[in-house]
Subunit: 604 residues, 2 copies
């Protein structure tokens, strides 16, 4: 196994020096924390991950979760990690003190869970989903629901899930048919099927609290008739004991990757005895769920970013240890009497490693950026601040979900390639990372859905204000970089890319104005790719500006080579990745419509 | 399981109408064949694949080959397919009549084996490698070797392998250390370790004939001291019985994909009783092996092209059956009362399907192109013809190995995405294709190695003559397309791309001239990608020219929509794929060197 699954130095650099976690700590909510205590928190999670997560990474893949006798059998570490996540306060970390939380900044928590994801991405979903479900109850539930469910969830004793998808309704939530029938006792009777439920059941869970989207009888059609319910696997009787709530584990899904994180098919109310309690208002379920969706989408991006980090470290270690081939001499030949080179010395291997580094560290910066916006929104002291960062967050959400997932998969693919034939073999971890990360482009809205969200909802938001705000943030970095002789050229390129994006939008917008939304959105995926590269180019330039400054600082925190490697990787990103915007623009500006169905069938 | 794993109509169209298999049949070697008989041969292999390969595709993944008690246990279909491949003449198909072959054109054989690959890529390697090993013996071995080994190999009774890689020598064959010690009896004593040996052993093989690269004691260092040996697992005694030849199956490699195709680690001469017989001349082993390497590299490209075809058909079927979501109306909204659309109606799904189609059918055309060149080389009647097609073949080999592997993986990735969450689940075949195809970029020289071959050896070959010939072939199609009003614009684009490639080379060549080969080759992978897109653009334009012509032909073979779909896909390729050359050129012309190791360590 590789020795190091995460570059903690870079993580802390990006968290503290680039995204300036300290600035958040002046906010009232976080005033009892200081950098030192948060740093200790991250270190303790790293130590926990070293001990309880990373050693089981391979084993959990080889002995996947499976369905047996009406439950799902998962690896024993699920129990350990759930309980310890409760004990260490990881589940409750970002919640209010009054709810049993620690009021730790969301951003710091993301840093900690990123380390867990990198150590073993099969495990953090169990506590994370529990946290998400608890958050929904705390945000919208009444006091009884809070008291009944939240304490055991935060302690890691009860699990939690989100139940959206149904067999006939995947991305199309308006087609949900799970039924909620009111009773005079106040609860609802729930009946329906939910699929793809992560962490939906396992042998260690005393109870699992499902947050279920369902339709109250007589509700309007479509997404406006969906309500949110708490539906525990076992309901609490008045005497404090649990009784079975008619939530059946029908089956599980065997997956290509992330096999230790169980995915279940649940049946509610097969014996007409499944009770659910409404959370918040009737028919507002989807909006409520989507308020939490931002966190869930950041979490998917974070997980993907972390997997690509672990894969990068593994391939880097291999490249530093494996001798193979020799340097090409000026004759164009190699000298077989020479000692073999380490493969890290071959330009093509360096290219693959630098590509990984640029995606991996760029993705990490993106995750912290989105998390920081999230923290600012929840702690904003003025309406203007709240509004501004809300829009910035909305703009960045589809990108933080998508880029680490898509580019991350490419990054892991390159990591696998670094190992040659061994990369394909079960003895090495790269093939597992390759399989594991692939789910990220599907989870919580596919790349297609995210791209429609970006171009179809976020760009037009408030007449383009969200995009305008993002452009103005990017422009700050461009201005800072312009003042440096070496960085100026990259600032100019990034500025051009911003202008080009405006041209693309001017070209596409008229389709939307004319009501031809299908055409407007047909190439949304390409626009997503374009904007992702621009945002990553920005984040790398931002890092280079800081690194450049620190190189003149005699009292710098990290080594000279550390900062130089950041500048080098920025240059790599601008040489090899940023030019991809050119071809994307050409495709986006090309008016031949080839993907919209016309009269003729079978053209495909 | 999907109903249709291959589009036989398109296969035959590309084989007969685009690459004009019939033209080959006028050659003396093939004169006893006609299109009808070859068509029947392909159909019989399809029928065989339907019956004996496709039904076991999932099962072979779920019950992979494994090492036990000194041998490898493989799925029972291995025996069936080996024997039937012998009986049906698939192994011997392209060999001389005098050697027991059928003198079927290599191109027609590739079409047949492509169908087998698409049906179940875990199986065709067994007969294919046997054929390759037999070919080496027939080409370079003496009469005794031929008589002793070839008949049983062609009959599918004995298997065959190629043994190149050693633990310390992967891509770097000059570091091979397997030893061959001459004896006065004429044979050599072999000792050493070989890894990654496909089909290296299994419980059904009465015998396996290994073609082994080894170094005769005292041989020169490097690749010039490598010789080729026949080393059977069991050697033939004078009485005609077999005795164990001290070839031990040390272990197997468990892989992420293609798990039914065993990969072994062999130990030769552990008990100092392993005999090998020299094939051809001493120290010429690598050159001899590489003569066969062209066929092996076409085979890898063919296999990858076939996997992407099967994945495309599976995702297409799903898209045609799965309802989900609705059309966006001119209000920008969807109407939830409307019936759900089939997902094939969504532009983004159509984009993913058309991307697949363009890669899948383009790759197939590329495989037939390379195969046709191969056939012409082996049957050339003049020195000029032989020389010309030899150069064209050399030029196209690294591309036919690489493009179907790399773009094919992207194609399958898109196929998986079409299925949403189900694509990641074991119940659907997409995740298996996704894992299976990934080995193609590693087999028989990684993409890095192929790219160095293309830019480092093939482009400079005979002062650029090979490239010149390829450009002149492409230009013929450009001229033909220019005469058509609708196709003219694409012809112009392709012409520009050719010119651009010359500019790139003019920019890079001086580095080579100055002896800075490391710099010259540093971005060889990008050049590979560039040239691949140009070649595929050519092949699509060629198909469009033919389709356009046939649309005016009242007596046409296929439906109107069939031809229109080819033109449509060409347009798709030119809108979405060809523009990628722009960013590649920008990176290739950028003189910042970032991947060549300088003094500083740990920049990565």
């Amino acid at each position: 196994m590789p020795k190091k699954y995460v570059d903690l130095e870079t993580l802390k650099y990006i968290l503290y020096d680039i995204h300036k976690l300290e600035d958040l700590l002046s906010r009232e909510r976080f005033q009892e924390h200081d950098l030192e205590s948060l740093d200790l928190f991250i270190d303790s999670v790293k130590e926990f991950s070293d001990r309880e997560l990373f050693p089981y990474f391979k084993e959990m893949d080889e002995t996947p979760a499976y369905h047996k006798d009406g439950t799902v059998i998962v690896h024993k570490q699920v129990q350990k990690v759930m309980h310890q996540s409760g004990e260490m306060g990881i589940i409750a970390a970002s919640f209010d003190y009054k709810d049993g939380g620690l009021q730790i900044p969301f951003t710091a928590l993301q840093a900690a869970v990123y380390v867990m994801d990198a150590a073993n991405n099969h495990l953090p979903g169990y506590p994370s989903l529990t946290q998400g479900a608890a958050e929904l109850i705390l945000e919208f539930g009444n006091e009884i629901l809070k008291e009944t469910y939240v304490p055991n969830m935060l302690a890691g004793i009860w699990g939690g899930t989100m139940c959206l998808t149904e067999p006939q309704a995947g991305s199309s939530l308006s087609d949900i048919v799970t039924k909620a029938t009111p009773t005079k006792e106040g609860y609802f009777k729930i009946s329906g099927q939910k699929i793809f439920i992560s962490g939906g059941d396992h042998q260690f869970a005393e109870n699992i609290v499902h947050l279920v989207l369902a339709r109250i009888e007589g509700a309007p059609k479509g997404t406006k008739g969906i309500s949110l319910f708490v539906v525990p696997k076992n309901r609490l009787k008045e005497d404090g004991t649990l009784e079975y709530n008619d939530v059946m584990t029908v089956a599980d899904f065997q997956k290509m990757g992330q096999r230790g994180y169980c995915t279940t098919h649940l049946g509610f109310g097969d014996s007409d005895d499944c009770r659910g309690w409404l959370v918040g208002e009737e028919h507002k379920g989807l909006a409520q769920m989507f308020l939490m969706m931002n966190g869930a989408r950041i979490a998917v991006g974070r997980g993907a970013a972390a997997i690509s980090m672990a894969a990068y470290r593994a391939s880097l270690q291999y490249a530093n240890e494996r001798p193979q081939g020799r340097k090409l001499r000026s004759t164009g030949k190699k000298n077989p009497s020479e000692k073999q080179s380490l493969i890290i010395e071959h330009p093509d291997v360096r290219r693959m490693l630098l590509l990984q580094k640029s995606i991996v560290e760029g993705s990490l910066s993106l995750v912290f950026l989105a998390s920081k916006y999230h923290d600012i929104v929840t702690t904003a002291t003025s309406k203007e601040e709240k509004e501004k960062y809300h829009l910035l967050l909305e703009m960045i959400i589809p990108i933080v979900k998508t880029y680490p997932s898509e580019a991350g998969a490419e990054s892991v693919d390159n990591g696998l390639q670094v190992l040659g034939g061994y990369g394909f073999c079960a003895d090495f971890s790269l093939q597992q990372y390759y399989r594991d990360i692939r789910i990220s482009s599907l989870y919580e809205g596919t790349t297609g859905i995210q791209s429609q969200d970006l171009l179809g909802r976020k760009v037009p938001m408030q007449n383009g204000k969200a995009l305008e705000l993002l452009v103005s943030e990017i422009t700050k970095t461009i201005l800072a970089a312009s003042k440096d002789e070496d960085l100026k050229q990259y600032a100019i390129i990034l500025g051009d890319k911003l202008k080009q994006s405006q041209k693309v939008l001017s070209h596409l917008m008229p389709f939307a104005m004319k009501g031809n939304y299908e055409r407007y959105l047909a190439d949304a995926n390409l626009f997503m790719e374009y904007m992702s590269i621009v945002v990553l180019g920005w984040l790398w330039l931002e890092m280079a500006v800081d690194a450049k400054k620190e190189l003149t600082n005699t009292n710098r925190k990290y080594s000279e080579i550390f900062y130089e490697s950041k500048i080098h990787t920025m240059k790599f990103y601008f040489k090899y990745e940023v030019p991809k915007t050119n071809s994307l623009v050409e495709s986006l500006m090309n008016d031949e419509t080839l993907t919209i169905k016309k009269d003729k069938e079978h053209i495909i």
